[in-house]
């Protein structure tokens, strides 16, 4: 029910965007998001509405933290 997937914004027309994931395109409404959304952004879409914009900087910080968890050999080959 609260499943929401990160989708890439392809186009914006007023209060509606078209976003895509794995080749599947979906329309979603911007009615309940206050942030500016741009083409190329990743957004979290739930029940036809954009509920959040994915913050790339934060994603990279989390990934950096996660990388420290890898055993030495895995990081070296990555």
């Amino acid at each position: 029910m609260c499943l929401a997937i990160p989708m890439r914004v392809l186009s914006i027309d007023g209060d509606t965007i078209v976003a895509e994931i794995d080749g599947v395109k979906r329309e979603a409404s911007l009615m309940i998001i206050g942030e500016e959304i741009g083409v190329g952004d990743y957004v979290v879409v739930h029940a036809g509405f954009v509920i959040s914009r994915m913050d790339e900087k934060e994603a990279l910080i989390t990934l950096e933290l996660m990388k420290e968890m890898k055993p030495e050999s895995a990081t070296a080959s990555a």
Partner: protein, 363 residues
């Protein structure tokens, strides 16, 4: 890139497993963490998270599936409305097969009721626009992630001047049952894996009371396997260090304040009410009803129907499962009388119910 693969990195997941094991050795007593989101429940089963954790670190599924916590009485009312003439019921797919006291929407549809699955409540508004001579009733079930979308659909109907769009609302908010369950001496919850997308709306700050006043560690956690493992690691660390605070593992999507626009749309269309939770009972202030200004859209007020007397399903342990008291495997019906093909209880029907997840991935 959308980073899906990076958050499924096996080495990262195993790295966290080792780290959790090492940390948990610093505390002789076992720990139990509860997740209160059906998508977490699914992730935990799907990726075999429990098998990666040491014996002393237990994960308990709580009341995180909105369809599952919806009481029979609501289903029965939706069924009664579906039997009215010139009525189209619109709903998210997982409500269809939930058994009410004596029928389900699926059965009603087979008998001729017009019940349609929609992807978005805006699709339901579009159906109302196309069918001016019929009333279109949307089944508004869900937590804080879903409720603003339903609120927005009511605003859209208002904007279009539609008088034939109605919502049968049974929305619920999750922090209050979390507080209730955290003080249950039988459960002894050491921390919460806080819901990801609910938090995108309400903000990580919503759990401060739970962590700071009640002393229950909280970590807002994403859904990918590396997210869940990192979230559990952060919880174990808090327990071991004797800390109790809110941490945000899912900062790429969730902020501390949450989505203010969604919050204001929600506050405009809904007001707080008491709500009945399957298995828990009535929790004061844990529900959302359509506000007086929008009463014309409230199916419960506009459509008086007589609802049959509620009957619970014999032997079904859904209630105890939703409170985290027992696991699906403790239910005498699980995988016998109750399967996804012929579900007896709500937790088996919804794709994110604890029993459905245990059936699909846990057997």
């Amino acid at each position: 890139m959308n980073y899906m693969d990076e958050f499924r990195d096996r080495d990262v997941v195993l790295g966290y497993a080792a780290q959790i094991r090492k940390l948990s050795e610093q505390r002789p007593e076992p720990m139990a963490f509860m997740e209160v989101c059906g998508t977490h429940t699914m992730s935990i089963y799907q990726y075999g998270i429990r098998s990666l954790l040491p014996e002393g670190v237990r994960l308990i599924s709580g009341p995180g599936c909105p369809v599952c916590v919806t009481p029979n009485r609501y289903i029965d009312r939706a069924i009664a409305i579906s039997r009215l003439s010139d009525t189209i019921i619109t709903t998210f797919g997982d409500m269809l097969r939930v058994p009410g006291s004596s029928s389900s929407l699926m059965e009603e549809r087979a008998r001729g009721a017009d019940v349609r699955i929609v992807y978005s409540p805006l699709d339901a508004v579009a159906i109302a626009r196309k069918n001016p001579c019929k009333r279109v009733v949307f089944l508004g079930v869900g937590f804080e992630t879903t409720a603003p979308a339903i609120a927005a659909s009511i605003l859209a109907a208002t904007g279009d001047g539609l008088a034939n769009y109605l919502v049968l609302a049974a929305h619920k908010t999750i922090p209050l049952p979390m507080e209730l369950l955290s003080s249950d001496p039988e459960l002894k919850i050491d921390g919460y894996i806080c819901p990801a997308h609910v938090s995108a709306i309400i903000g990580a700050n919503a759990f401060r009371g739970l962590a700071e006043q009640r002393g229950v560690p909280c970590v807002v956690t994403g859904f990918e396997p590396a997210d869940v493992m990192q979230g559990v690691e952060m919880l174990v660390r808090q327990v071991v260090e004797g800390k109790s605070r809110v941490e945000n593992q899912y900062s790429r999507v969730v902020t501390w304040e949450g989505n203010c626009k969604a919050q204001s749309v929600l506050a405009q269309v809904f007001s707080v009410c008491d709500a009945e939770w399957r298995g828990i009972g009535v929790i004061p202030g844990s529900g959302l009803e359509i506000a007086a200004d929008y009463a014309a859209y409230d199916a419960e007020k506009v459509l008086p129907v007589s609802v049959e007397e509620t009957r619970e399903h014999q032997g079904c342990r859904c209630g105890d499962i939703l409170r985290g008291k027992v696991s699906p495997f403790d239910c005498p019906l699980f995988d016998r009388a109750c399967t996804p093909e012929s579900p007896v209880g709500a937790c088996m029907v919804s794709s994110e119910g604890t029993c459905a997840a245990a059936y699909k991935y846990g057997r």
